[in-house]
């Protein structure tokens, strides 16, 4: 069961539209924001409110990059692996062959897709973010960072560890 306030919030969203399933993604975002990820229970409750079967909602949930069906860290880092970010990582003098993704994984001691032991960070690849004029770029909980250097990444990670940060999307 969803907490009553959450249930009411979702029901209010759905009351405003003719076709409830048009809000499938918004409902998933809302539940994900509450639970930290889209748990099995959240998926089933979401489907019920949307008038879909859990399978119908699962079909969509597993399709999208920004719906997390497994627990993720407090900060989800989506690293752009588009061709412009691939090309523009000048400044990586210490290690000219290391990508942002490699650097982050090394710093955070995780593999791509994993969450750090302290539960703070999850690193995921994402297709071109549309910030090619700020390449190389990454998105942390919906906030854009770029153009990145290793020093800046260190600074950003430090800041996220120590300061409160507004969550813009999803979570």
């Amino acid at each position: 069961m969803l907490p009553p306030e959450l249930q009411e919030k979702v029901e209010a969203m759905l009351a405003g539209v003719d076709q409830r399933r048009e809000l499938a993604v918004d409902v998933m975002y809302t539940l994900q924001k509450h639970y930290g990820y889209l748990s099995d229970e959240a998926l089933e409750e979401g489907a019920r409110l949307l008038g879909l079967t859990p399978l119908e909602l699962e079909e969509i949930a597993t399709f999208y990059d920004f719906i997390y069906r497994e627990p993720v860290g407090r900060f989800v880092i989506h690293v752009c692996d588009g061709v412009v970010c691939w090309m523009c990582h000048a400044g990586w003098e210490a290690c000219p062959t290391e990508s942002i993704m490699d650097y982050l994984c090394r710093k955070l001691e995780v593999q791509v897709g994993e969450t750090t032991a302290d539960g703070l960070f999850t690193v995921l690849p994402v297709c071109c973010l549309g910030y090619c004029d700020h390449a190389p770029a990454m998105l942390v909980n919906g906030v854009l960072y770029g153009p990145l250097t290793p020093e800046q990444i260190d600074e950003i990670l430090h800041q996220l560890r120590t300061e409160s940060c507004e969550v813009v999307i999803c979570r």
């Binding site: 809000l23 990059d65 061709v83 523009c88 910030y131 090619c132 998105l139």
Partner: protein
């Protein structure tokens, strides 16, 4: 040619979107006011047809013709879907456009709605553009309060409203039929043989237009189709174009220029040229779904027809510049990895063919390439048009470009048993 005045980015501010007042001061919503009081919907469609406006999202379909695809006796309600998914690698013009002047896009959408007698517009926004979604929602409210949106617009009896649809992020959602499925809460697979103007959103007539395309419409209605045509720099072009330039240039960014401006001018004058030590090797002229455009075409007019004449496509007009240190096997591998991952997996040529191409490129880059890979790559790329939608043929373009212009480089990978670009490694640029 007279001094060039921007049409799409004229209200661009360094740090914030233009307000409704600023937009109106430059003639904003005059086109809408004229349309709903003086012109019939058919007349608006005719004006857009006469303007020569073609889709800016990559497919270059004539916009007026698309709208005219909805006959007068088609059922209601009808929908307009401004496509702001923009996930083509190298493309960020719509982000800049909407954040610069949200009301331009809103007015363009309302005019499209009027032309096809639609009841509702649904702006489809990708998740990394969340700030844009919030700007749009705020400005839609402002437009509603000013009487430009909602019931009985400007007392004309025409009612139309717009909402923002947030996506959860997949490249294929930019394809029109997939986008409509996504809005309906279905898995966003493209549909084959379905005309959106017949049976689109909720089975009703629907037009899906790129937001840059829609942003051209207020100018066409306010100033007339000929005025719009005259903005172009080449014979066959119409209007201005947002060229976004990224990669090896000094000033990456979005530049609004007469459609058909020469590639050399865009790169050297507007984007500040290449950094010192870098030399132009080739570019992607319109995102990752277009063929590499090498140096011999440096003076080509960047518009649909001139590029078509030399065997290329304008695509989204978003130019990714590569210098002489870029390994094109590596660059193509990056692009194909993207496409192989983003394939929706629905049809076989795309789902099976792209990973096959990726593996061939991967082995070439790792020094495991063999001579027979070259005809094999050609053959596999040749299968891509057999797929359901334009995704896979688009993905094949950089591969075909690689083989057409840089086959020597591929052969060097084979003969040297590895990447000849010293500092290059799998996944990494120069």
């Amino acid at each position: 040619m007279a001094a060039f005045e921007p049409v799409l980015l004229k209200n661009l501010q360094p740090d914030r979107p233009a307000t409704l007042e600023e937009y109106r001061a430059g003639g904003g919503y005059e086109g809408l006011a004229a349309a709903v009081t003086k012109y019939t919907p058919q007349q608006v469609t005719e004006m857009v047809k006469a303007s020569g406006l073609r889709g800016r999202g990559g497919a270059a379909f004539p916009t007026g013709l698309k709208w005219a695809g909805i006959p007068d006796n088609a059922p209601h309600p009808r929908y307009v879907v401004p496509n702001t998914d923009e996930m083509e690698p190298g493309t960020f013009k719509d982000r800049v456009l909407v954040n610069a002047d949200p009301h331009l896009v809103i007015e363009g959408t309302i005019l499209a709605g009027y032309a096809v007698s639609a009841a509702r517009g649904i702006i489809f926004v990708r998740p990394s553009y969340e700030m844009m979604a919030q700007v749009l929602e705020r400005e839609l409210d402002t437009a509603r309060q000013a009487g430009f949106l909602g019931p009985n617009i400007l007392g004309s009896g025409f009612s139309f409203d717009i909402t923002v649809h947030r996506s959860a992020g997949r490249y294929i959602c930019g394809e029109g039929t997939a986008q409509v499925n996504a809005i309906m809460g279905l898995r966003p697979h493209p549909m084959k043989g379905v005309r959106m103007t017949d049976r689109g959103l909720w089975g009703q007539p629907t037009v899906v237009n790129n937001v840059e395309t829609l942003a051209c419409v207020p100018h066409i209605v306010r100033m007339g189709p000929q005025c719009f045509r005259d903005l172009a720099a080449c014979e066959t072009g119409a209007g201005t174009k947002l060229y976004c330039v990224s990669g090896k240039v000094n000033r990456p960014g979005v530049y609004e220029l007469p459609s058909g401006t020469r590639l050399r001018e865009i790169i050297e004058v507007h984007a500040g040229g290449l950094p010192s030590g870098s030399e132009f090797k080739a570019c992607l002229p319109g995102g990752a779904s277009t063929k590499y455009l090498p140096k011999q075409f440096y003076d080509v007019e960047m518009d649909f027809e001139p590029l078509k004449a030399v065997g290329h496509r304008l695509g989204t007009g978003c130019i990714v510049v590569y210098d002489q240190n870029t390994c094109f096997v590596g660059a193509t591998l990056n692009i194909i990895e993207f496409f192989a991952r983003e394939s929706c997996g629905f049809c076989t040529p795309c789902r099976e063919g792209l990973p096959y191409i990726r593996d061939l490129l991967w082995r070439l880059e790792r020094g495991e390439g063999r001579e027979e890979f070259i005809p094999l790559l050609r053959q596999m790329a040749g299968h891509m048009p057999k797929s359901y939608c334009a995704f896979a043929p688009g993905a094949a373009e950089p591969v075909l470009g690689l083989l057409q212009y840089f086959e020597d480089e591929v052969r060097e990978h084979i003969s040297q048993k590895g990447c000849p670009f010293k500092s290059s490694k799998f996944k990494i640029g120069p």
